[in-house]
């Protein structure tokens, strides 16, 4: 194994580990004020909404709001399944099956 690569990997492990580890390690001893707790409770919906938007509307790393973007076409029925069933399983099956269909119909 190349030594330089091992050092790069260790550096990457620190660069990715510290931002995950530190907040809980440092902040757990404090009781947050109510307003901070409320603020933090809005983080998951905001992050998830942003992740949905990016993964559907910029699937290749650039914003692509066009009719040719098949992620948008699969998203619409998948969203309907999610809203009606509230089931991760059915939503995942519907989304994957529809995307497989489109990917095989229009290569």
């Amino acid at each position: 194994m190349k030594m330089e690569l091992v050092w790069i990997i260790i550096g990457m492990a620190l660069a990715t580990g510290i931002p995950r580890f530190l907040p809980v390690a440092v902040l757990s001893r404090f009781e947050f004020p109510e307003v901070v707790k409320e603020w933090l409770s809005y983080v998951p919906p905001a992050v998830l909404a942003a992740l949905v938007a990016v993964s559907i509307l910029a699937p290749q790393g650039i914003v692509e709001i066009t009719l040719a973007n098949r992620y948008i076409w699969v998203f619409i029925p998948t969203l309907a399944v999610a809203v009606y069933t509230k089931s991760p399983f059915y939503t995942l099956v519907a989304g994957i099956a529809l995307m497989a269909l489109l990917n095989n119909l229009f290569v």
């Binding site: 330089e4 931002p19 938007a53 529809l98 995307m99």
Partner: protein, 270 residues
């Protein structure tokens, strides 16, 4: 840590079982203590761990093709099977690893690769901090170590789960570890025999992540205010991505949009 009569009981503080059973020591908080104790280590371990592993199934489905693809790419760039697997085992960050092999191929320096990884991972400061209020009953050292398993996907699953359930070590370990193992195993497989595996897009697996984000978003929206926060976040993150396309490289548009949208959520009148 023996509890003497009159000592203040802190719910969630880990105590030896015999202390909890001594009614006189701590009668008022006995039940809460017992619950907290059970929540950390008790008999629900199996159920909780299974709940975590089952919740990880969509994550695993999504990681398999991504890990395979990473293994194949790492192999093409000149990493051996053990080097690629070591990277996935120690680093566990999809985007950062893709960037790293891209930079390695282009002859980037170690410093550039590590800095790029740090930038891509800054958002986890926010994710990890937002879980702090839920993790109070878990010993801090253990909770911090569990956070090493955070990814966009495991964070999303955990955040939705913790809205209505107490955080437990077996749940978080089940969720994070099974996702982690699928990432490491699929990297190893991809680097080893990846060139023999057909294009997974034909199986529609490229929509596994978007579908999972979608259902988690639906599950996490429980009020009009949440909906408003979500809409603000979508508009902002697209606007930022449109004006500054480079922000999509490290998803800093998501952090910026989240900071503003959560602040707006606090300020909107109830």
């Amino acid at each position: 840590m023996p509890l003497y009569p009159g000592e203040k009981c802190i719910p969630g503080k880990l105590l030896p079982l015999k202390v909890i059973n001594h009614k006189n020591d701590c009668s008022l908080n006995d039940f809460r203590l017992y619950k907290a104790y059970k929540g950390v280590l008790g008999m629900n371990v199996k159920i909780e761990a299974w709940t975590g592993i089952k919740a990880a199934v969509p994550v695993i489905l999504a990681y398999m093709p991504l890990g395979l693809a990473f293994g194949v790419l790492a192999n093409e760039v000149g990493l051996t099977v053990s080097e690629a697997t070591l990277m996935s085992a120690l680093v566990f960050t999809g985007a950062g690893q893709y960037i790293a092999i891209g930079l390695l191929a282009a002859g980037g320096s170690a410093f550039t690769i590590i800095m790029a990884n740090f930038l891509v991972n800054i958002r986890y400061l926010l994710f990890s901090a937002s879980l702090v209020p839920h993790l109070k009953k878990i010993p801090t050292g253990l909770a911090s170590v569990l956070m090493l398993g955070l990814t966009d996907e495991t964070y999303a699953v955990a955040a939705v789960h913790l809205r209505e359930n107490e955080a437990t070590v077996p749940y978080l370990a089940g969720l994070n570890l099974s996702s982690y193992l699928s990432w490491v195993a699929s990297t190893c497989l991809g680097a080893g025999i990846g060139h023999m595996i057909a294009n997974t897009d034909q199986l529609g697996l490229n929509f596994a992540l978007p579908a999972m984000y979608t259902i988690l978003l639906i599950l996490v929206i429980s009020s009009r205010k949440h909906l408003a926060v979500a809409i603000i976040a979508v508009v902002l993150c697209l606007l930022i991505a449109f004006l500054f396309p480079s922000t999509l490289g490290n998803l800093s548009n998501i952090i910026a949009a989240t900071l503003v949208a959560a602040t707006a959520g606090v300020m909107i009148k109830r």
